[in-house]
Symmetry: C2
Subunit: 161 residues, 2 copies
């Protein structure tokens, strides 16, 4: 079981979009070149973000994407769920109903016990992602990435925005 690599791309794209001044858009082409990934496919991830109101896309020359909200209003969970969907990673197929000792038309009141435990773990995962915003990411990046790389990257991006 793996998350799709679009998740990684989407997160990194949101990270760099934080560096954009107000009213400036960054084309998918530039984002793709910056991260070294196929442009056409990356645009699908950006589309997903756009459809969920996390980024805004604009057409025409000087078009592209920018964040739709302030970075502290966008959590990792928003981005991950936009790409991966809100469904739990665990699907309960109700195999307990196949038990030959259970009457055929038995209506279970509660969901399957096993499923409840798995869903709780899934919720713990989501809760962890919900607690990290893009602002938190920016603070961490400021520590991890050397200042000159950060500055050069920002210049490189603005040059092509």
């Amino acid at each position: 079981m793996n998350l799709k690599n679009q998740v990684e791309w989407a997160l990194h794209c949101c990270a760099v979009m934080m560096a954009l001044p107000e009213g400036v858009y960054l084309p998918a082409k530039v984002l793709a070149e910056f991260h070294g990934v196929p442009k056409e496919y990356l645009s699908k991830a950006l589309q997903a973000l756009s459809q969920h109101g996390i980024v805004i896309g604009t057409l025409g020359p000087s078009g592209g994407y920018r964040l739709a909200r302030a970075p502290d209003q966008i959590s990792f969970l928003d981005i991950v769920e936009a790409v991966e969907g809100k469904r739990s990673t665990f699907r309960c197929e109700e195999i307990r109903g196949n038990n030959p000792c259970v009457p055929r038309r038995h209506r279970a009141g509660k969901p399957c016990t096993v499923a409840r435990i798995m869903w709780k773990a899934d919720e713990a995962w989501r809760e962890s992602l919900r607690g990290v915003s893009l602002t938190d990411l920016a603070a961490q990046l400021a520590e991890d990435v050397p200042d000159d790389v950060l500055a050069k990257s920002r210049a490189w991006l603005l040059e092509r925005a």
Copy 2:
């Protein structure tokens, strides 16, 4: 992104194996019939459990599977990781290295910032599963499942063990 349905099957199989007396083995065929799933494919999940020391398989007539440890020594995480693997659900492909502003041979000290956050969430998921043992499941099942169904199921299984 979905967990494979073998995870669900493995969990339910471990649940019913708790009902077995000491020294009794339950064939994959019976487990498959009980849960209404294809026997040949279910055996793959049981093989995974066997290879990770969670259950023990025996050949020949009256052979089958039984739990390898006491139920309170087997956590949901053990079972899930046996089937799904221990790898994090998030794969970091180090696309930050493709940044044209980073010197080619740059050795990053820390892992990617984004990856660290995703891995932390993954660890939260695992921690939640680590905290639930088969004993806990049994206690919950005793509340959820009517007593007569529980008794009939146990009898049905022992009849074929």
